[in-house]
Structures are given as C-alpha cells and as structure tokens.
Amino acid sequence: MIIRRRELLKATAAATLAAGLPHLVRGAETAGVYDLERFGNARILHITDTHAQLRPVLFREPSVNLGVGAMAGQPPHLVGKAFLDRFGIRPDSADAYAFTSVEFEKAAVRFGRLGGFAHLKTLIDKLRADVGERRSVLLDGGDLWQGTGLANTMKGADMVEAANLLGIEAMTGHWEFTYGEQALRDNLARFKGEFLAQNVFLTEEAAFNDAKAFDPASGRVFKPSTIKDIGGHRIAIIGQAFPYVPIAHPKRFTPDWTFGIRDEELQKLVDGHRNNDKVEAVILLSHNGMDVDLKLASRVTGIDVILGGHTHDAIPLPITVTNAGGVTLVTNAGSNGKFVGVLDLELTKGKVANVRYRLLPVFSELLKPDPAMQTLIDKVRGPHVADWSDKLASADRLLYRRDNFSGTVDQLICDALVSELNAEIALSPGFRWGLTTLAGQPLTMEDLLSETAITYPETYVASMTGSQIRDVLEDVCDNLFNADPYYQQGGDMVRVGGLAYTCTPAESAGKRISELKLPNGRHLESGKSYKVAGWASVNQQSGAPVWEVVARHLRAGRPANRDAPGVTLKGVDDNPGIVRQG
C-alpha cells in the first residue's frame, strides 16, 4: 500500500503530532511522524480501552457527543469541525480522520486502519527505545480484556498474553470484572504487570467472612498504587477502576466487592505518597470517564496528571484543571488501540517542572507489525477463526456504533430483535466499543462478535408498560446527561427499535423524554403493555445470545430497514457536540 503510505506521510504533518501543551514550546516538525523531539527525563506511555482489538480496526469517532450544563461545548463534548477548530487539526488530514467522524468513509479508504497489537508493539518499542533503558513505563487504563469473540471465549486470557508481550507494567479495570472474580484472579496470576485499583473494597459481609483482599485492614481488594523508578525518578501510579461496575453490569459477577469514586480515600493515598514516600510525581491511571476525571481533578489535590479512559474520548491535548493545591492535567486516550498517549515529564528538584503530551494515532500502514506479536495473535486466533469467518451478509451501509443516541450497527441489532423475537419494541445497550464496517464490506461472525461479545449476552422478551419503557429511557438518559458528572456512568443512550421519542438533554431527571410514538404514529400509552425484546440485562436472562439472533437475521437476508432512528433532540441547536446534516 505504497500510495496510502505516501498519503499518510503527507497528511500527518498536522498539529497534534507536533503540538505540545499550550504555553509550552512547540516541538519542531519531525522527520518521521513518530520521531518525537526529546523532552524531559521520564516518559509515560498510556493506552486504554483497546477492547481486545488485536488486529487493526476501522473505528468512526462520534458525530454526536453532547455536553450539557457546564460541560456544553467543552472537551470532550466537541465533534466534527468544532473539534478540529479547537485542536487546530486540518480538515482533510490523517489526524482529522483519526480523531473525528469528518468524511469518515472517504478518509477510511485513504488512510486505512488504525491500531492492532503488532503495530502497537512496534510503535511502543520505538517510543521506549528513543528514551533509553528504564526511562519509560507503559500503562493500560482498562477495558483491555473484552470486546472480541476471542477475548470473550478465552475470558481475557488471550489479552493477558498480549499485554505481557507488549510490556504493560500496570493496569486498572472495568469490563475485566465481568468475567467474575475467579477468572480475573486467574488472569492476574499470569499478568506480569500490576493490577491497581484504589476504589475497590470488600463489602461488609465479605470482609466479615474473611474474603481475599490485598489489605484486609482497609478492605482494599487490590493494590491501590505502585511507585515506579523512571530514569532515577520516583513516580507514584494510582489505579482508579470504573466506579460503577456493580451498577452498570450484573452484580452477580462481583458480589463481594463494592466500588465508587472514593475521592477522600484517593486524597489520603496521594497525600501519603507525597509526604511519606517522597515521590516526584503522582499519576492517576483512571477508568472514571473524562467528565468524572475533570470534576475529580478540581476536588483532589496533588495529582499531576490523570491519564483517563472509559468514555473513549480521543483528546489531543490535556485539559488543565485548577484546584486548591495547584494544577492537574486531564487526558483521555481514545479507544480500540487507535492511539498511544505519550506523556513526557521534566522532573527537577523533586517535582514536575514541565510536561509535554501527545496522543499519537497508530496508523497501521505506517508501522511494520512486530513479528513476535503477530505470531502470538495468529496463534490465539487460530483455533476459532475458521468458525467465525463465514460471511453472514454484506454491510448495506456504513455500520458504526458511536453516537449518543444511535448508531447504524445498533439499528441493525434492534431490527433483528424485533423481527426474530416477534417484538413490538427493541432495546439495545449504548456501548461505546464495537467496530465500524464500510458499506459493501462482508460481515462475518467475528465482526458481529466485536459488537456484542459480553458475558451476559442473553436476549429476553418481556411485557413492559408504556410508563416502564419511559422510565428506562429516563434512567439511562440521566446516566448520560446528569449535570453532575459524579452521577454519570458513561456509556451512551439505550438504543430503541420500533419507537420514536424526543429528548431534551438539558432538562432535569425524569423530564428529558417525551413524545414517545410507535411506528404507526400512535403515542405510547402509559398503562398499556408492549412486547419488548432486548439483551445485556443486569438481571439474569435465558434467551439465545444476541449474536445468534442477529446472525439468524442476517443469514435470512431480510431487507434492511432504512428508517432513520426516531430520536428528535431539543435544545441542542447551538451545541458543538453534534454534527448537523447537510
């Protein structure tokens, strides 16, 4: 692909690859896009939310990512042109393709796939070799073990091998917990790095029953933090797992553990490292989500940088947050292996004197896959690939997931649920992982699993009243648009099929959803019961896994439903978190 490579090299001389922090000196344009100017004396590499994507991916960033209240118009709630303008990225550049949804289909053909662990390995090894032995550390922000059929089948064991080969030294978690305690502990026993989580504690009952804990006195289940020696400098890395695991997922996976944001415990930990361990820098490796991290940075003092994930926001530059103790920088490093965050710290006189941060897009075409990692990927995929490579159908249009309210891949899933399970209405979770397929490309079981592979995939058919359906929509909508980020869970709005509604994101809880209508134009009646199909319920269900239902639908070759998703938005006219059509 020589032409594509040339296109990329021409188009990557854009702002992000050469930009440092505002107020800091900008690096000179570099010869190769991944030849970074040397800066500082300790390098921290950060990947997050790779969702087990061992191979290079197409992943379209959102065209709807609304912020409300104080978050309106602020990163990460910028999309399209507003995003490009904010970060100084040229519209037709490779960076524009990596960071936004602008002209995605055209650009995907031009610039190709991103990520892939063999390509990540090559890039990470180079970034580490550039600074020399023991002068860097590699961190993973979680959602490493879930997102593919392979990872789901192997309960993440494939990703532990890949993580070891990649050289991940510390990680935290989210979907990792959905394999349950035993699988998690088995994987961690083979993981060469450390699993850090300051905010996971035994429940009172589990503590009473002497359940296993890293620190029985405090009830902390995992080691909360570690101190790394990077180039002779002591740096504390604190892990922050996703705070709402037992709420967002079935509680049966983590019955003995209780989570939460826990910023008071975090403050004590930071103070301890500062005062007793005499560290020169404190880094929070967080799976809070970016809005939560921004609020946390304003409340907790003494953290130099929050390396964030969960909300899959690819933000080229750190956001500076002022708090009572000084300043904390907040980053978010995208998803699916598309990016590597490079944080260079200049440590002098026992503290951080200056920093430079870059979020490098991992253009697979520009990186030679690492042979050892490629061999490992081929080995772990080998036993399953034959079962999953049959073509189920061709994509009838661009299939993607990310947007606040709907995605074409979720419309397809909802169509399958309604039609295969004879339901009137379908509900499908608003996950932010799941790959993108271009129109006309074949869809295999492996592709379908990359949209649906979870440990609770069972479908259900239930009778729900109109008011119950409305309550579900309101509840999930508040998880997304509560004006206080600490009350948000991340994830996007539940997707619906067979139902149209109006949403006013800036309203208060219980008042956002209105005008619920069935396809025949009739209003949903509060007291009437409707047949609803769905999957990924937090309550135990017994229906067929959703991928079987969707595969059946695709194999039957039913005509694609091209109805636009019936969500009408109110009060977002001037919001730069939405790309307007036309």
Binding site: I247, T258, G260, H312, Y487, A536
Partner: protein
C-alpha cells in the same frame, strides 16, 4: 443482606433499640442500650409515621436544622443496591446527643434515629433502604441545636455502561 418491605419498619425499630448489630459492627458506634432508651425517652412513633421530611424532623425534634460543614456524611453518588445503601456520619461537633437519617422521598422520610450517650464518639454507619433517587439528610443534634448534611443518592435500574 436485603430487607423486605414487611421487615422494614420492624427493622428500624430494632436499630433504634440498639439491636441492629450487623449494621454497626466494627465502626466504633455504641448504640444505646435498651434500658437507657427506656429511661430516656420512648420510641418516637409519631416521627417515624410522618410522610414528609420537614414533618418528621418537627415531630422528632420540634425544631429545624441548619446545614453545617461539620457534619460529614459519606454516601454513594449512585447506589449499588437501593435496598441497602451504606450511609455514615461523623462530626466534629461537641456535645452530640443524637444522630438521625432521613430519606426525602421514601414513603416515610425518617429512616433511623440514634441516641448518642455522653462520652461516645459521634459516628454512625448504617444502611438505608431507598425507594428511588432522592436526597439523604443526616441530622446531628449537638448542644441542643440541629445541624445537617444532605446528599443526593441515585437509585438506578442499571445496565448499559460503556
């Protein structure tokens, strides 16, 4: 531990009598002994029967509370299980004589009330059943005055996390 609706009011009474050990173990809390309770006061049945928060506070104390940053309440932003929401209170106020918990939109707002004997560390941890997303208020009675802290606790159907 889950509490069914029928056990609900009975359980509150048990906690009040100092028998709610499961909720109090290991937290440095001394619940009042039954005989002391009997000597001090009778069960405030009327306060527990009130629907609204203001009426419950009035029935229990006969006065209103003012917000104070000396009342430190620890409660989750989002409950992991609405049936057993861990809520705890400590305070730097002196001369504390009682600590009470109210859940604004529960069918009956007053959830628990503890008498704090002289010389006891004013720290209570308990678990409250919550019907839905609403404010939880802790009231500390100190030196004959009422001080409060309030936090919204969300009770959600869950699911759909990124």
């Amino acid at each position: 531990m889950s509490i069914t609706t029928s056990e609900f009011s009975g359980r509150r009474r048990l906690v009040l009598k100092g028998a709610g050990v499961a909720a109090l173990i290991g937290l440095g809390v001394v619940a009042i002994a039954p005989q002391a309770l009997a000597a001090n006061d009778k069960y405030p049945e009327d306060a527990f029967k009130q629907k609204g928060q203001a009426d419950a506070i009035k029935a229990l104390y006969g006065k209103t509370a003012e917000p104070s940053d000396k009342v430190k309440m620890d409660a989750p932003e989002i409950a992991e299980n609405g049936a057993v929401v861990p809520v705890s209170v400590t305070t730097t106020l002196t001369d504390v004589t009682s600590i009470s918990f109210l859940v604004a939109e529960n069918p009956n707002a007053l959830a628990a009330s503890y008498r704090i004997p002289a010389g006891t560390v004013p720290s209570v941890a308990n678990r409250l059943k919550m019907a839905k997303t609403t404010n939880v208020t802790a009231i500390v009675e100190a030196g004959g005055k009422l001080f409060s802290a309030t936090k919204e606790v969300k009770v959600t159907v869950g699911g759909c996390g990124g």
